[in-house]
């Protein structure tokens, strides 16, 4: 019998579910993120027994999430749904999380490479060397893309304050 040292998958979901959700949101910029999350964890559950015991589980999940996000984007272009975006503009007053919706839009508008570098580093917490493996290029290039992304975000989303930092 294979004496794997792997943790029960339940703990993987508990430890990384939030990170993967945020990555999916940044990659997809909205409501498709939840479908991508589900597809990611189902695929991960399927492949989990074959994952090497010493693998970086979070980097692995982020890689799957990226693939699933691309699938969702492809499905979306193949079959555009014209009424998907509702025309009403809900008031932000008194709506919890409404500020975050603006932030997601700002993130969504970042150039592709910046958006992904920001997601992988600031959201998923991956080191730049790992991000370079996913994005291609060097660790320094990934670092620059993330820094540019954050700079753009600060410019386009001036109301943002960092939680835990004095505002």
């Amino acid at each position: 019998m294979d004496m794997s040292r792997k943790q029960p998958f339940e703990r993987v979901v508990a430890a990384h579910g939030g990170t993967v959700l945020r990555v999916c949101r940044v990659l997809l910029g909205g409501h498709d993120a939840e479908d991508a999350w589900s597809e990611t964890f189902l695929a991960a559950l399927r492949a989990y027994p074959d994952l090497p015991d010493d693998a970086n589980v979070e980097a692995w999940l982020v890689t799957i999430a990226r693939r699933k996000a691309i699938d969702v984007l492809r499905a979306r272009t193949r079959q555009p749904v014209p009424v998907e975006e509702l025309p009403e503009e809900p008031s932000a007053v008194g709506v919890p999380g409404a500020r975050d919706i603006d932030l997601w839009q700002a993130v969504d508008e970042l150039p592709e490479k910046q958006r992904r570098a920001v997601a992988y580093h600031y959201v998923a917490g991956l080191p730049y060397a790992k991000i370079a493996e996913i994005l291609g290029g060097t660790a320094d290039a990934a670092r620059r893309a993330a820094a540019d992304g954050i700079k753009n975000l600060r410019k386009n989303y001036p109301g943002a304050t960092m939680k835990g930092a004095p505002s």
């Binding site: 794997s4 339940e10 939030g18 939840e34 589900s38 559950l45 919890p96």
Partner: protein, 203 residues
């Protein structure tokens, strides 16, 4: 790791994640990927961990065994595809409730005995033959399984029973009349024996 992570957190994340987690649980079962489902239930002998494979109930664990370490062992010995998924344990949980209420004398559940092998499994298969409210000695059980000298091995088989309560190793006592050791602790063994003695009298 860095304060910017908070930048992307939203207050409803916890709700969203709990909904997505539940969706994963259903999808995993539907896709045949739920190798080990588990839940916890309250009982008069403390919180019990219940785990089942598609074949049946595979593990009942007492709090003092350390539920986290029991789950680690299940991940290593059976499959790491382990999820909290109470639905598969609904029948087991209901029958245990009935048992602890004194209204059930035998469990009617598919069991998966794959966590024990050889002589231990043989002993465990025979334990349900000891009726509700009755007891046997380790020596009697050794005779029952056709190996009267294997008294100590019977003790080990009881101590390593992966399905305590449901497979009634608590009904096996020492030959000198003392109750012997128990995977759930002596207090739990006494509670189960008293419960059965009382309910058997009332019937």
């Amino acid at each position: 790791m860095n304060t910017s992570s908070g930048y992307f957190a939203s207050p409803s994340d916890a709700d969203t994640l709990s909904r997505l987690r539940h969706r994963l649980e259903l999808a995993a079962e539907a896709e045949g990927l739920l190798d080990v489902a588990y839940t916890t239930v309250d009982s008069p002998v403390g919180t019990l961990l219940l785990a089942a494979t598609p074949a049946g109930l595979v593990r009942v664990a007492y709090d003092i065994e350390g539920h986290d370490s029991v789950l680690d062992t299940l991940a290593q010995r059976l499959s790491p595809r382990v999820l909290r998924a109470p639905r598969r344990l609904d029948t087991a949980a209901r029958e245990l409730d009935e048992y602890f209420a004194g209204r059930r004398r035998a469990f009617d559940l598919p069991l998966d005995l794959s966590l024990s092998k050889g002589f231990r499994q043989l002993v465990q298969r025979n334990l349900p033959g000891i009726g509700y409210g009755q007891t046997r000695t380790y020596r009697q059980v050794a005779e029952l399984v056709g190996n009267p000298k294997a008294v100590r091995a019977v003790g080990t088989a009881c101590a390593t029973n992966p399905l305590p309560v449901v497979v009634p190793c608590h009904r096996v006592l020492r030959s000198d009349g003392t109750i012997g050791s128990y995977v759930g602790g002596l207090a739990a063994k006494t509670t189960l024996l008293n419960l059965e003695a009382t309910a058997a009298e009332e019937a």
